[in-house]
Assembly symmetry: C2
Homo-oligomer: 501 residues x 2
């Protein structure tokens, strides 16, 4: 019966008309059930589900498994070496494909003192974005909720709202008598905010259950324009610590300054050798293999970044010139000095030649740059600057044998991933979302940050697409995390569009 209903839509109306009807149907359901939908969200936010709190995590996992069951899914708890995964499968007779939906049910750790509410796990409803003029509203007393109202709680946007949103979208489709066109599998991660350390082996272990045509990642915020957004990839990361050595112990800068080699200056010279004055990396081959097709370029150009406004907000007048725009820049690997330290500054400064100087570096990777390869190029560059590379603090013989000594420690890496901008099934997702919303949607070829799930995408072996739905200003990873209800409700429309594409 549901299958027949779906055929009616698909065969008799245009995509755009279907999209508008679908949106109307989902919004009608949402309007009729606001109190229940918000109550479901609040209930899921009341678990102190921080990755380190195993008991709360397991209670939330069991609770969410129950929510999957209610939607007629075949669900189970998948045990891992760490927190459990919650898995569910919704089979559609005659489905044209299978979608695997990834969310995480853990939230960032909290520092309750910095929150403007007594408990980050007791959700608070406000009539707008937290400010002096917004009021706290009684959640239980409301039947109707306005789009600008927000729920404040840890994991509200990151990433509980999308979980409740996708389940509500299934409820709304069912109520409208519309059957999804895809089999839907859901996998909910319980330790994403701890870096998903057990996800890759778990995915390998449960590989047989997870087969699909596309992985959809329902995590992260919309583009800052708050337009519907899809994300084709994420940069990876590799971190490297460089420590340059001077004298064995700090020396009196009067007695030895000008004579004992200064490790802070030598570190500065080494770092300076890696970039030109415009911020472009000059290490040979660092940007090899990166190229944009005309389609890529169009997608990059269409992202509605207001770079002038962004620079004003961030407080600088001139960006590095790795790309022409922010979107272009993040298509390239980065080399970022994230920390510097040598001896002391300010009131603690002492008149010494320091014994060592350290730079902490992160290198963001893109699909074309493999960590080992890039690391090799960085080491080659350091050697070309006449530095002797060691992996431990130098002993006497090493100090006697080499004028410039640097300890290089690589602390691990996470790969990048990126789905081709013209991937057919990704293109279908873009079309489906476009059909329910007016105006262009934002397509991000790569997001700049790194997600711990990239390695599991490699294991799965099928393409992945990020579909964020929550508000950009959600204070993700900060105190006073929130979700704007209008975004929460609109997310359901987006999810329903994907499920019925």
């Amino acid at each position: 019966m549901r299958k027949i209903m779906w055929f009616c839509f698909a065969l008799t109306v245009s995509t755009a008309a279907f999209g508008q009807d679908l949106r109307g149907a989902i919004e009608a359901y949402e309007q009729a059930h606001q109190k229940e939908i918000v109550a479901n969200l609040v209930a899921a936010l009341e678990f102190p589900a921080v990755a380190a709190d195993e008991a709360s995590i397991r209670r939330k996992a069991d609770y969410l498994k129950g929510e999957l069951d209610k939607r007629g899914m075949l669900s189970e708890i998948l045990e891992t070496e760490g927190n459990p995964l919650v898995f569910g499968k919704f089979s559609v007779p005659g489905a044209v494909r299978t979608l695997l939906l990834y969310c995480h049910y853990d939230g960032q750790p909290v520092d309750s003192d910095e929150w403007q509410q007594p408990d980050p796990f007791q959700p608070v409803l406000r009539d707008g974005k937290l400010s002096d003029s917004t009021k706290v509203l009684e959640i239980d007393a409301r039947r109707k909720f306005e789009d600008d109202w927000r729920i404040y709680a840890r994991s509200a946007s990151d990433d509980t709202a999308p979980i409740i949103g996708l389940l509500t979208a299934l409820d709304a489709l069912k109520a409208a008598g519309v059957m999804p066109t895809s089999n839907i599998k859901v996998i909910l991660d319980g330790e994403e905010e701890a870096g998903s350390p057990n996800l890759v082996p778990a995915i390998e272990r449960y590989r047989d259950k997870l087969g699909a045509d596309l992985l959809l990642i329902f995590d992260g915020p919309l583009h800052q324009s708050n337009r519907p957004t899809v994300v084709f990839g994420a940069r990876g990361i590799m971190t490297i610590d460089l420590t340059v050595f001077g004298p064995r112990v700090p020396l009196h800068s009067g007695h030895y300054g000008n004579w004992a080699p200064n490790p802070a200056m030598r570190l500065a010279q080494l770092l300076a050798s890696m970039k030109d004055p415009d911020g472009r990396v000059v290490i040979e081959g660092f940007y090899d293999g990166i190229d944009f097709t005309p389609d890529d370029q169009r997608v990059l150009d269409e992202v509605p970044d207001d770079l002038g406004e962004l620079k004003r907000t961030l407080g600088f007048s001139e960006a590095d010139k790795v790309g022409e725009t922010l979107q272009e820049a993040i298509q390239f690997p980065s080399l970022n000095v994230r920390g510097l330290q040598s001896a002391w500054i300010g009131g603690e400064a002492r008149t010494i030649v320091p014994d060592r100087a350290t730079a902490a570096i992160d290198v963001r990777l893109v699909r074309e740059t493999k960590p080992d390869d890039l690391y090799g190029k960085i080491l080659g560059h350091i050697e070309a600057q006449r530095f002797h590379i060691v992996s431990e603090d130098p002993d006497d013989a090493t100090r006697a044998a080499h004028a410039r000594i640097v300890k290089v420690i690589r602390r691990g890496s996470t790969s990048a991933y990126r789905t081709d901008i013209n991937n057919p099934i990704a293109t279908q997702v873009v079309s489906a979302i476009s059909a329910v919303w007016d105006g262009p949607i934002v397509q991000k070829r790569t997001s700049g940050g790194t997600v711990p799930i990239a390695p599991f995408i490699e294991v799965l072996g099928f393409p992945a697409l990020g579909v964020p739905t929550v508000n950009f200003d959600n204070n993700q990873h900060s105190p006073n995390e929130n979700v704007r209800l209008g975004h929460f409700f609109d997310g359901m429309v987006t999810f329903a569009a994907i499920f019925t594409m």
Copy 2:
């Protein structure tokens, strides 16, 4: 009678023969009075005379005034805005010159827990340099003291031993019936280890009392060869903090790395622009005016530094190439990065583009380089690197107007001083010391470090010479400060030679 005795020596024997006789006379006195001399030293070390301890400082000042009185000096306490100066004058009928002797009677602050004795102000006698095999000896039980024995106490070498030594030298000369040839004035500083903040105004206030032909500074250790040493100058110092600004707040290095300018990299580039790979400053005019006469060069070359051994000890294989040798290097101003800081390293590192990066710099000055002039050259160099210089954290308008912003803070400066290597009276001192000791003496054209008394030398307007006498390994400014008794006794011979030159 005494005056006549002096004439006998001066007119009838050669300088060298006089020197040997004098040394014999002083050593005979020292041998005969060891118990009393050591007791005098111990008594002076029992005051907890740290500059911040005003009550103890004043007790020690009063005690030392009494010791000056005992030697027939006209003495007084000279009040300052801080700790008092102790002043004494010993007039010699027919004196050919007046010598002003500078010592300080305060010591470095102590951290008693790090000392190998219960109380740094309860002197301990050891039968050698502190080690597993040296023993503590009962001071009071001894009548004879061996040269290798050491007294451990705060201010033992720095700078109480020279005070007791110069007074004992007067006692010994009196016992030998030898009159000094110079009027001798003594000024004892009570807050040198706190930077002598009140010395310059005090010197201006008491200028009429302090007239002399030469200032002799009885402070600091001998050259590490432990040869008799004279020091013609000391470098000055100026400290500068450079803070380069990036985005207003630290940014996510994934979202913005490659695009938001990185202040740590820009600071590295700025620092790197200041020196060549061999450590020579390339700021235009930085080394202007520095030149060595053949006499200067000879003096520099004669300093018996074992640079190979020094590099092995300090743990590096190649020195900066500002000069050919350590002694040459410290004739030039230095530019030393004494501290670096930006965001975090190690376990605390975060994947951010830092908002700022700071370098703490000290610039050691020489007589030819005036602080204001050198500072102007540094600022000019920074501007030539296209940096906009500010003196406070930049506001929005400044951030919007300038791509590269650096806050430059100059924290004050102390001038260098240097007496010409061929200054006639300084040459007499060198000859007098040479006459009492076998072998060459070490002449340091400039010591690398800075002494807070340099500005008062400028006020006094007459030449100055450092005559250190204590052992190089005295742990000055560290726990377990000590003076080797052989050096303490030999210092008296050196002082007597100067007083009778």
